[in-house]
């Protein structure tokens, strides 16, 4: 089906189900329970999960397949966002043209930077991309303020010209991003007893694009092109002496992943029409690297998991304060309660970075293949130890 089969099809199916049911899955706790803090099923975060999922999936096409570690991919995300916001300001609040422009501009930008950076490999390539991205960031942050609105970020305003559409909505506000009239920010809430589930247009729009992106990424992984990219990672010398020009392959991979980043940037702006320069900073480029490695570089699903993991901590853990902690441990004796709160507050709220840092270390130390490997191990544990015995006998068969 769809030109993919077996495990890949299953994987796509799983991702589709997860994405479509995310509002339920991410909100497992009743609204007023103490655990409600851990609910992640609200539109903004769900959107971020899938958007950064797209970003990471695209990054993985470059890094996972070719091994080229770009430290400047956030630049394409940023460029995508700026393009989209400009499209909203000048043309229309419809997200389609904005996203198309984001992808195109990011692709062109990637073509330029990739063309130059790919003349080098290894760490030299990484630093070249980093340098380009930091330059872009610094330019956006101050020098190019007329285009980017500097530190504040590019926003919509009441006097945007907007050729196809109005500058000001009927209610006197700034019009809302939409898909042919379907407002992105519109959200329907469903109640089941104590549970509340939010269904947002914007989220589903992003989720569909994630599925498309994911599908394309599967196709790329399984295509001859994908094979060539893995060959690039494995041995460029051999590839060259086999008559293949590695440069266009890597450049194509670079541009494709740049376009994924542009799409992610465009979507970010479509969900919330603001483009901040920080999203081009090296820390943002580093974040997508971390997402990919954390999830499992070179695997299909890993980057999406990694993206979800990091965004969850950033958004959920940072919001747990000692007020909430006292609520949780409220039932316990005073001394114990204070003790637990004291310990816990180091890891949540403003300590969320600490938790994240520790988790990075734990995951990479104990699961070298990232979260995906964790999954595989659990799977293996469930299926029992029979495998190993099989392999043993297979290995000991005469080789010839």
């Amino acid at each position: 089906m769809l030109g993919i089969k077996g495990k890949d099809l299953t994987l796509l199916g799983v991702v589709a189900v997860l994405a479509l049911c995310a509002p339920f899955i991410l909100n497992p706790f009743p609204q007023d329970s103490a655990m409600a803090q851990f609910n992640a099923g609200y539109p903004d975060l769900m959107q971020r999960f899938v958007i950064f999922g797209i970003f990471a999936v695209g990054f993985n096409i470059l890094f996972g397949l070719t091994g080229y570690l770009s430290f400047g991919h956030a630049a394409f995300l940023g460029v995508g966002s700026y393009s989209a916001v400009w499209m909203f300001k000048l043309l229309s609040m419809n997200v389609i043209p904005a996203i198309i422009l984001s992808v195109i501009v990011a692709g062109l930008f990637a073509l330029l930077i990739g063309f130059i950076s790919l003349r080098r490999s290894g760490i030299y390539f990484s630093i070249l991309t980093l340098a380009f991205a930091q330059m872009s960031f610094n330019l956006a942050y101050s020098v190019l303020t007329p285009i980017t609105n500097g530190e504040t970020g590019l926003q919509l305003s009441l006097d945007d010209p907007r050729v196809l559409g109005t500058s000001v909505s009927d209610t006197g506000g700034i019009p809302v991003t939409n898909l042919f009239g379907l407002e992105m920010r519109e959200t329907t809430t469903m109640y089941f007893g104590d549970w509340a589930f939010q269904f947002s247009n914007g989220y589903y729009f992003c989720a569909v694009l994630l599925l498309v992106s994911f599908y394309i990424s599967i196709r790329i992984f399984r295509s001859p092109f994908g094979l060539m990219l893995r060959a690039v990672k494995s041995n460029q010398t051999r590839l060259n002496y086999t008559g293949l020009n590695t440069r266009p392959y890597t450049l194509a991979a670079f541009v494709i992943s740049g376009m994924y980043a542009g799409l992610a940037g465009g979507l970010l702006a479509s969900m919330d029409p603001l483009a901040g320069a920080e999203r081009m900073q090296w820390t943002a480029s580093g974040e997508v690297v971390l997402m990919t490695i954390l999830g499992g570089a070179g695997t299909l699903i890993g980057p999406v998991l990694g993206a979800g993991f990091i965004k969850y901590f950033e958004n959920i853990f940072s919001k747990i304060n000692d007020n909430v902690l006292h609520q949780w441990f409220g039932g316990l004796p005073e001394g114990l309660e204070n003790g637990l709160v004291w310990v816990a507050e180091h890891f949540v709220g403003s300590g969320w970075h600490l938790t994240l840092g520790l988790l990075f270390m734990l995951v990479v130390t104990f699961l070298p293949g990232g979260l995906v490997e964790g999954g595989t191990r659990i799977g293996r544990l469930i299926r029992g130890k029979t495998r190993r015995a099989d392999e043993k006998s297979a290995q000991s068969k005469p080789a010839e």
Binding site: N39, Y42, P43, D44, L45, R48, N138, Y141, S142, G150, E151, T152, G153, Q155, L156, S157, L158, D159, T171, G172, G173, I174, V176, T187, Q198, D272, L274, G276, E278, R279, E314, N315, S318, K319, N321, N323, G349, S350, W352, H353
Partner: protein, 413 residues
Amino acid sequence: FTNEPTGGTVTLGFNVPQSGPYADEGADELRAYELAVEHLNGEGDGGMLNTFSSKALGGNGIMGKKVAYVTGDTQTKSDAARASAKSMIEKDGAIMITGGSSSGVAVAVQGLCQEAGVIFMAGLTHSNDTTGKDKKANGFRHFFNAYMSAAALAPVLEKLYGSDRAAYHLTADYTWGWTQQESIQAATEALGWTTVNNVLTPLAATDFSSYIAPVLNSGADVLVLNHYGGNMVNSLTNAVQFGLREKQVNGKNFEIVVPLYSELMAKGAGQNIKGIVGSQNWDWKLSDEGTAAFVKSFGTKYGFPPSQAAQTCYAQTLLYADAVERAGSFNPCAVGEALAGFEFDGLGNGKTLYRADDHQCFKDVLVVKGAEDPQDEFHLVEIVEVTPVDQVTYDPEHPMFAGGALGECNPGA
């Protein structure tokens, strides 16, 4: 309207920098917010509720609903701040967002609140743009701004350093730096000073020596550091290292001015800050009864006096609650109406007005100076003068604030 509170509680969103260079300020803001919530819910000693000129608040929550709050990390990035604010609105049902520590972030979050239909009480932001070209109907600012700093400083500068001075500006390259520099340049030139140069410095810079080194030879005899936070601590430290303060230029002592000051910055700069003049929104050493009440409850709870960041955030929370009570509704438009043009006293800044035209707060501004011989670590700054509000008031159409529109209030869905 958005997030209309239906149960027995009402949720406020405190969006402060918990990481990044302003994290200490964020922490102090958060302390103040917690204190404010306590007082609103009738716990503790009531703090400035007792001195506030409006008596609408009774210590029983807001309109009888208990006040709850959520906190978030802005990371001092527009993006992260907006994400955090969005989650407060979407997930936690926050009805008002407040906090922040950078003008860029404040403007970005203010835009979000306008679109989402909640009230934004700006917290720490000092750029002219927040209530100038980027003003929004749903946003209110208690903090003073760059223009006011300049207007308050100018007379003091004239008194201290005379009217024949040549100034060299180093300016952080973003919205706050630009408006701060523009304001102070205009104000000092009005005194008769000349401006030798204005050099924009990258916000990310940590070592300013290459910007400081040419200053002495430029003919300037005053260095104005339009820097805040780490930028200011580092540039001032560098300037002192280069011996600028011991030099004589044009037959006068070389002087350094830091238009926007804070106690936390003074701590970072250490001895270098001694005798350097700047402006503040508020200081715990003021002697009015509002200040005394606030310092007492804050100091008792946390063991040290509050910063101006804390006072600003505390006051804004009370003001919001009070406006809801007076409006009799949580509807942002009703609250906005109650706040616009509201005049009050007793929150530590003397008589204060929330101007309806731009939602900027007008009150007295402090000119301060680094203490020469601080008695302890809380007395690093001493008050030079309390500049009366009239002197810092400007026309809403003043060119530094022109452009942009307040727009209509948005109650949201």
